[in-house]
Amino acid sequence: MLYWEGINLKSNDGTRDVIVETIVRLIIPPIQLFGLYVVMHGHLSPGGGFQGGVIVASTFLLFALVFGLKNIEKRFKELHRTLLDSFGVAFYAIMGLVCIIFSGNYLDYQAIPFLSMEQMVKASIILILIALGLKVAAIVTSIFVYSGKEGV
């Protein structure tokens, strides 16, 4: 119960808890590093874009819970969130169109001639993993921020 007394979602007007804030400051960087690891190693180990993106987004939710919803705008701006979300889908779709330009099927990465066939597939998968991770992190943060807005 003491934990929640220090948190005021609507504003950050003096109701603060030093213990919670310090622990959150310490714990956010390792969680974000782990999330990026899950995204970057999606082709080797369990995980991938969606899972890693949600782990990264969870740090922003933690930040918003402890430091207030208004302060999240300083760390992850609304414009950047919306742009990243659109970028993820657009990058994926454009990746498929590039395959068509090089006379392959839609999303058939083998057709792109920059690298050897397997290397190109691997590179495309890693690029799409990163795009998906950024996109999921942005959109989960957005949904949380808008759902917690004042008057809803």
Partner: protein
């Protein structure tokens, strides 16, 4: 008058479906069609074709890439819906 007909229909169709379950392969059975030719093929081809070691990611982003593009679009649509309903100032 409609109620008994509906109940009869449900009983007939339900029993047909229940009996057809008996002919399905058991869950995770090694002799089911999916485990005899589909899964081994994916496991053999994953490194040759996709060039990566994680079979789940290879299926998700290479063989079933269209499906994942649809998933990404669904999440995008969910985000746009939330912004449209709750995002206005």
């Amino acid at each position: 008058m409609r109620k008994p007909i509906i109940i009869m229909l449900i009983a007939v169709i339900g029993s047909i479906m229940a009996f057809s379950v008996l002919d399905l392969p058991a869950a995770a059975s090694p002799s089911s069609p999916a485990s005899t030719y589909l899964s081994p093929e994916y496991i053999e081809l994953v490194y040759e074709e996709a060039g990566i070691h994680n079979i789940v990611t290879a299926v998700l982003l290479y063989w079933r890439s269209y499906d994942t593009l649809g998933e990404a679009t669904v999440i995008f649509a969910a985000g746009v819906a939330v912004i449209a309903i709750l995002g206005g100032d």
